[in-house]
């Protein structure tokens, strides 16, 4: 069984369309960030989050009204949302940083929220989780997150430049950065909080999207060693086609597992899973369209040798249409 038998799509020809599409997504993502800002999770923005388990779950509105009445400072800046499966009756209350979350006053806000809920007669509840983060930790984390992403990219750049060529490394990094930007854009569209887990997903993606790219580059390198002197564009295109089945299947199996995570992994992992879903899709797309295209931009071969084209005559004999070997 094969998804494509001897695929022969002209990916390189459509690289411009791909670039435009990517830019549209990235720019509209940036616009979304500029207009609405990036929603930050508690570990980055600082503040308090309290997860409460009600025996009989009140509506979000009721909780909000209770906070308006009993929480000092009112409920206008407070985020109230249901947590986990709706049937569980769990609610998360999040209060932005007041500036006091330090030292002995660290848990003051969280305690005030719990008191407000107690006074409001919303029924029995237990506090099952709290998270209180002062300003220093958030700042530290943001810096470290950015640093780790950059260093990881730089590390991979060096490795690929060493194993392949600088032009390949640049292509791979551009594709990775592209994936990061597109993923961020989707996070902004769907208003997912930027949490530690999401950062972890983003860092994982830098490694993952590199995977597809390396597989294709590896084939390009192998084909470049071939006797035939096709233009680089041809070689790249043939290589992308040769690895296309694998690219799609791998993207597919990874997608299956992250979708399972998204649907069943619970509330804590939802942001992570969403980031991975977007990242896997864009990673597959970018290694086919972006990475290879960058290589052709970067390292254009001087005069094109007249190409009989690998279309009719594959780079290597093995790409020739052939009878499938069946199960015995």
């Amino acid at each position: 069984m094969q998804i494509f038998k001897n695929p022969n799509f002209n990916f390189v020809k459509y690289r411009w369309h791909a670039l435009v599409l990517s830019w549209v997504i990235v720019l509209s993502g940036l616009a979304a960030v500029a207009v609405k800002g990036i929603p930050l999770g508690v570990e980055f923005s600082g503040g308090s989050a309290i997860i409460v388990d009600f025996t009989q779950r009140p509506s979000i509105e009721q909780v909000r009204r209770a906070l308006d009445r009993y929480f000092p400072g009112g409920g206008q800046n407070v985020v109230v949302q249901s947590y986990g499966q709706p049937s569980l009756g769990q609610i998360m209350v999040r209060v932005p940083r007041t500036g006091k979350e330090q030292g002995t006053a660290l848990s003051e806000t969280a305690d005030a929220v719990v008191n407000a809920l107690k006074q409001s007669n919303l029924g029995q509840f237990t506090v099952i989780g709290t998270e209180i983060v002062g300003p220093v930790v958030g700042r530290d984390l943001t810096q470290k997150g950015i640093l780790a992403t950059l260093l990881s990219l730089a590390g991979i750049l060096v490795y690929i430049a060493f194993r392949f060529q600088l032009s390949f490394a640049v292509g791979a990094i551009v594709a990775s950065v592209h994936d990061l930007l597109v993923t961020m854009a989707f996070l902004a569209f769907f208003r997912y909080d930027l949490s530690l887990n999401v950062i972890a997903a983003i860092l994982t993606l830098t490694g993952y999207s590199m995977n597809d790219t390396i597989v294709i580059f590896d084939r390009v390198r192998e084909n470049l060693r071939g006797v035939r002197r096709d233009s680089l564009n041809e070689v790249v295109n043939v290589s992308v086609n040769q690895t296309l089945n694998r690219t799609i299947i791998t993207g597919g199996t990874t997608l299956l597992s992250v979708i399972a995570l998204f649907l069943f992994g619970g509330e804590v992992l939802r942001g992570f899973a969403f980031t991975m879903i977007v990242g896997v899709i864009t990673g597959t797309y970018s290694s086919v369209f972006i990475a290879a295209a960058i290589v052709t931009f970067w390292r254009r071969r001087a005069p094109r040798t007249p190409v009989v084209a690998a279309v009719t005559q594959p780079v290597r004999a093995k790409a020739k249409p052939a009878r499938k070997v069946r199960a015995s």
Partner: protein, 518 residues
Amino acid sequence: MANDIRWRVLLIVVLVGSCVWAIIPPDKKIRLGLDLKGGVHLVLRVNTDDALRLETETTMERLREDLDKAGVTVNYNVISPTEFQVTGVQPAQEALFRSTAAAVEVNYNRGSGAGGTYTFTIKPNLEVTLRNDAVTQALQTIERRINELGVTEPMVAKQGSEGDQLMVQLPGVTDVQRAKDIIHSTALLELKLVETGPAPTRDALLQPYKGVVPPNLEVLPGVEARPGERAETVYWLVRKVPVVTGRDLRNAKPTVDEYNQPAVSFSLNNQGAAKFSKATGENVGRQLAIVLDSQVRSAPRIESRISDEGRITGNFTQQEAQDLSLVLRSGALPASLTYLEERTIGPTLGADSIRSGIMAALVSLALVMGFMLFYYKLAGINSVVALFFNLIILLGAMSYIGATMTLPGIAGFVLTMGVGVDSNVLIFERIKEELAAQRGVRASINAGFSRVFVTLLDTHISALISAAFLFQFGTGPIRGFATTLTFGLISNLFTATFVSRTLFMMVLQRRQAQTVSI
């Protein structure tokens, strides 16, 4: 060939077998992180300035003593935790001042001294040492306190870019406030001779001294409390230099006082006892202030020479007396602490996470396996076996090195399934290509494995690079994720090439096949 296969199978069986052995039973062998087990996660900062200020103050006092002896009269001022200033040095005494102050210059850089004002700044390397020492000491003290609390598998570790943050993890602890108080209290015990007091206000206390505190004395607040009465703040004038401090403590334990109220009794070590008995012997009839964290808890009159026993009374509850003796036993903190972050995970929340994590893993496994069997038929079985072994080796490795499984760790586990079959896909697709090019079955399989191995090496190494940075960046849960990812990658390289190839070899050998189902 047959021999070769036998060795390969043996190696795989031994490896996978020992991993299975390492993870059975899973609930005992796999360490769960705080986010799955429930507990308290605290991040606090050690205010290392305190330790520096103490050093600077002590140095300044020593210089004052020396200069007083030499007959140089000047003014002293601590201007920051790392600097103190001496002003008003007469030109005539400059040479004498400089020679006397030379002793200080071992640890402090002296300023030029223009206009008779000298600034002494701590040397950078000493500053670094003192700051690091303060953090390390705080870490050790907190560890001792937590161990006495009886928490199972607690963790205290340095973190943060400045190196002055400590992360404390207390699995299974639900009384957050008590844990925080115990960790937080400085617990600096000092016994100081009382000059006068108590007085209801500072001014009243200092009236005989015309409102100025004499240089060798200090004013400390205290609580006047008799059973059944409201506590009131009072002030004491005490000697600055303590008779003994908590450093000389041998033991502290909860007890009751003469009113049958909870109290803490302490005993001193030999060195402390010698100092204590000398001081009490010379000062019979005077009051001795028992000062805890710069607050006078009580000031009993010295009836006779006391050698090595004492008692701290005050309005304690049973619990407070117990906690106070605990922190006294564990020693004082070298610097104050500030809480930066607090995270509590209730046991139900952790159980929910485990449940949904396992659910996600099972669904993902079913989906990926289903797809591989559907798409690659019999070769799909090969990849499913490889996948299973991959997961077992991953869990076994984590169990052997005692790595912690966190919720993101489970995510890494699930991700390993999806990404892990990629290696199989790469190889299978290559074999298909080779078969399509009319090579023989055996040659195609060999070519598939050997050609793709280089690619696999490249992809795995670059993924390992990003996992390494992830580990560096992350705390707790994220580290769990990076760990899972790393071991997943390594074991995947083994199962996808070695195990999978062995399976192919076994099939080919048995049937001398001319075709292969892929």
